[in-house]
Amino acid sequence: MISFKSISLAVAISAATFSLAQSSALAQEGGHGPTPHMEKWSFAGMFGTYDKAQLQRGFRVYREVCSACHSLSRLRIGNLADEGGPGFSEGQVKALAAEYQIKDFNDKGEPIQRPGFPSDNFPKIFANEDAAAAVHGKAPPDLSVIAKARSYSRGFPFFLLDMLPGVAYQEHGPDYIHALLNGYTKPDDTKWNEYFPGNQIAMPKPLSDDQVDYTDGSPKTVEQYSRDVAAFLMWAAEPKLEERKRTGLNALIFLFIFAGLLYFTKKKIWADAH
C-alpha cells in the first residue's frame, strides 16, 4: 500500500535537512561540554530496585556533608523507614528524628525548638533563598527532587533510544549528580566544574576521600561517596520507584494476556467475514 520508493525519497529529503541543521548548529555552538558517564545503577531497568545498604550510606553522606548547605524539606524523617527505601528501622528513625531541632510553638503560642518526630519534615536550613544566597553566593537548591530536576541532552538519535524497552535510559539525573561531584578537575580553580553548565559553580568541592566513615567496608573514596549519595537522592526524588516497577510488571503481564485473548476472539469472529 505504501510504496517503498515514496518513503525512501521522503527520508532522503528530511535526512538532508536534518544534517544541514545539525552541522551548522554545531559549528555555531562550538560543541558541547563533556556528557556525564553512564554509571551502573541497581534501580535502572525493568526489574530495578534500590540497594538498601547503598541508600543508607548515601543518607550518611547527605547528613554529614551535604546537609550543611542543602535542605531535604519535602521528605519526612520517617520516610527513611518506608517500604522501598533505605530500610532503617522504626527505632532508628525515632532516635534520628530526636537529633533534629524543629521549630514549633508551645501551648502558650510562643516559638520554641523541640526534638523532632518521624512525622516531621527534614528542617529547612535557611529562612529563605536570599538568606541562603547571602551565605553561599548562590542558594544551594533543596535536594528533595534534584535527581529528577537535573538532566542532560543525549542528542539525536540517542534520546529516541532512551524510551525503548531493553535500552531504556532514565538515570540522567543520578549520572549528572555523580559526574558533578567528581567534576572538580582544575585544582587551581576551586570554582571550576567540568559538568556544571557554564563551568563556574558556587558550591565548593564538597567531598574528599576518607571524609565520611563507612562501617560496611565500602571504599571511603569520593567516587564511592558520590555514587551512594546520588542513589540516595534518586530515592528521595522517586520513593515509589520499586512499587511502580513491580506494579508495571503485573500490569504488562495482564495486558499481554488480555490482548492475546482478544486477538484470538477477534480472529474467530472475523473468520466468516472475509
Binding site: 505504501i2 510504496s3 521522503a10 535537512t17 555555531q28 526524588a237 504488562l252 477477534k266 466468516d272
Partner: protein
C-alpha cells in the same frame, strides 16, 4: 446511513421507556447495528483509542483534583504530596501526565490517517472540521494542564504562550493583562487556568458527541475510499465486528501507555518542571510539551512576532480548509501515486519541525525550520490543489466488496449468511 431505529426492547418496562425516550435505540443504532465498512484496517481503531484516552484523562484528572491545590505557593508542593503521600498518587499523576501525551499520539495518528485516506472529502467536511475543533480544544487543555504543577516550565511556558497575545495590534497588551488577571503570570492566572483545565475536557466530550453524530450520518470512510453501495456486501455490523477489533486495539495501545507510566514516566516531560516556578530565574531553554513542538518551530521560524504568531495559528487553521484545498476526486492515497509521496514527505516535515522546535532558535536550526515551514504551507496551498489537476490516479475499485476481493483473491462471504 442510520435511519430510524428498528430496535425494540425485550421487556415491557424497556418498551414503555423507549416510547418516551428512545435512548436504547440510539445506542443500539450507533454501537451495535451501525454498519461499518468491512475493509477497515487498524488505523481506524484510533477513534476508539481516543475515546478511551478522554475517559482516562477525565477520571485521573478528577481524582487528582481531590488532592491538588491551585495556589502559587502550594501547587508544586501539592503535586509532590500526590507523588509521595497519596495512595496510588504516583500512578494517578503519571497516568494523567503521560495520558496527555498518549492522547496526542493517538490524535496525530488519527489525523494522519484522515489525511492519507482522504477522509475529509465530501460528504465528511463537517466531521473533519469538528475534529479540528477537538484538536484545538485538546491543545488548549494540555497547555492549561501543564501550568498546574507550577514548575519552571509550567511558569515560563505559560509566560511565553500568553505573550503571543501581546502581538495583537493595538489591544494586545490589554488583552494579555486581562488573560493574566494581573501584570504577569501569577496566582490569578493559575486559578483561572485550573478552572478552564477542568472545564475544557467536558467541552471536548460535547464536541466528540457531535463528531460521532456527524460520522454516523455520513458513515465511515475506508481504505479504498469508495462509498458503501450495498450494505449487505460492503459492511459488517459494528457489534461484534468493530467492537472486538477496537477492543483489541485499545488493549494494545494500553500496553504502550503502561510502558510509559510504569517504566519511563518522565521521558516525555522536562527536568526543569521538577524545579518550583521562579519568576526571577528564566530557564536556559524554554521548551513546550512535545506535542506543540512543530508549531513552536513554525512560530520561531518567522522573524516578526506578529508574523510568527499568525503563521503558528494559521498552520492549524489551514487544516479546516483541507476539504477545499484538495482538488482530487479520488480519496484514498492508495490510488494516488504522487500524493502518496508528498504525504510521507509531509509526515517527515512535521517530525522534522518537531525536532527543530526542541532545539535553540539559532543558525542552521532556523534555516531548516524556515525550509520546513515553507514546505508545510506549500503542501496545503500549492501541492494539494495542483495534484488534483496533474496527477493520474490509479483505477479505483467500484465497491468495497471488490476491494476486499482484489486483496484476498477470493470470494466475499456475507457473515449474515
Amino acid at each position: 446511513m442510520s435511519g430510524p431505529s428498528t430496535f425494540v426492547p425485550k421487556s415491557a418496562l424497556g418498551r414503555w421507556f423507549e416510547s418516551r425516550l428512545p435512548i436504547m435505540g440510539l445506542i443500539h443504532g450507533s454501537f451495535v447495528a451501525y454498519p461499518t465498512p468491512r475493509n477497515l484496517n487498524y488505523w481506524w481503531a484510533f477513534g476508539a483509542i481516543l475515546s478511551f484516552m478522554l475517559v482516562a484523562q477525565i477520571i485521573t484528572g478528577i481524582v487528582l483534583t481531590m488532592h491538588y491545590t491551585p495556589q502559587v505557593d502550594l501547587a508544586f508542593a501539592s503535586v509532590e504530596h500526590i507523588m509521595r503521600d497519596v495512595n496510588w498518587g504516583w500512578f494517578l499523576r503519571y497516568a494523567h501526565s503521560n495520558g496527555a501525551s498518549m492522547f496526542f499520539v493517538a490524535v496525530y495518528v488519527h489525523m494522519f490517517r484522515g489525511l492519507y485516506y482522504g477522509s475529509y472529502k465530501a460528504p465528511r467536511e463537517v466531521l473533519w472540521i469538528l475534529g479540528v475543533i477537538i484538536y484545538l480544544l485538546m491543545m488548549a487543555t494540555g497547555f492549561l494542564g501543564y501550568t498546574l504543577p507550577w514548575g519552571q516550565m509550567s511558569f515560563w511556558g505559560a509566560t511565553v504562550i500568553t505573550n503571543f497575545f501581546t502581538a495583537i495590534p493595538l489591544v494586545g497588551d490589554a488583552v494579555t493583562t486581562w488573560l493574566w488577571g494581573g501584570y504577569s503570570v501569577g496566582n490569578p492566572t493559575l486559578n483561572r487556568f485550573f478552572a478552564l483545565h477542568y472545564l475544557l475536557p467536558f467541552m471536548i466530550a460535547g464536541v466528540v458527541v457531535l463528531h460521532v453524530w456527524a460520522l454516523h450520518v455520513v458513515g465511515q470512510n475506508n481504505p479504498a475510499g469508495v462509498e458503501v453501495k450495498n450494505v449487505d456486501r460492503d459492511t459488517v455490523p459494528f457489534t461484534p465486528y468493530a467492537t472486538i477489533k477496537d477492543s483489541f486495539a485499545v488493549v494494545c495501545f494500553m500496553i504502550l501507555y503502561a510502558w510509559f507510566i510504569f517504566y519511563v514516566p518522565n521521558y516525555l516531560g522536562h527536568a526543569d518542571n521538577y524545579i518550583e516556578a521562579n519568576p526571577l530565574s528564566t530557564p536556559a531553554h524554554i521548551v513546550p510539551e512535545w506535542y506543540y513542538l512543530p508549531f513552536y518551530a513554525i512560530l520561531r521560524a518567522i522573524p516578526s512576532k506578529l508574523g510568527g504568531v499568525t503563521a503558528m495559528f494559521g498552520s492549524i487553521a489551514i487544516l479546516a480548509f483541507l476539504p477545499w484545498l484538495d482538488t482530487s476526486r479520488v480519496r484514498s492515497a492508495s490510488f494516488r501515486p504522487m500524493y502518496r509521496i508528498f504525504f510521507w514527505a509531509f509526515v517527515l516535515c512535521c517530525l522534522g519541525l518537531g525536532y527543530l522546535g526542541a532545539q535553540p532558535a539559532e543558525g542552521g536550526y532556523i534555516i531548516a525550520a524556515r525550509l520546513l515551514t515553507a514546505f508545510y504551507f506549500g503542501f496545503f496551498i500549492i501541492i494539494l490543489p495542483l495534484l488534483g489537476i496533474f496527477e493520474t490516479p490509479k483505477p479505483v475499485p467500484a465497491t468495497i466488496a471488490d476491494a476486499v476481493l482484489a486483496k484476498n483473491g477470493g470470494a466475499v462471504m456475507n457473515p449474515a449468511e
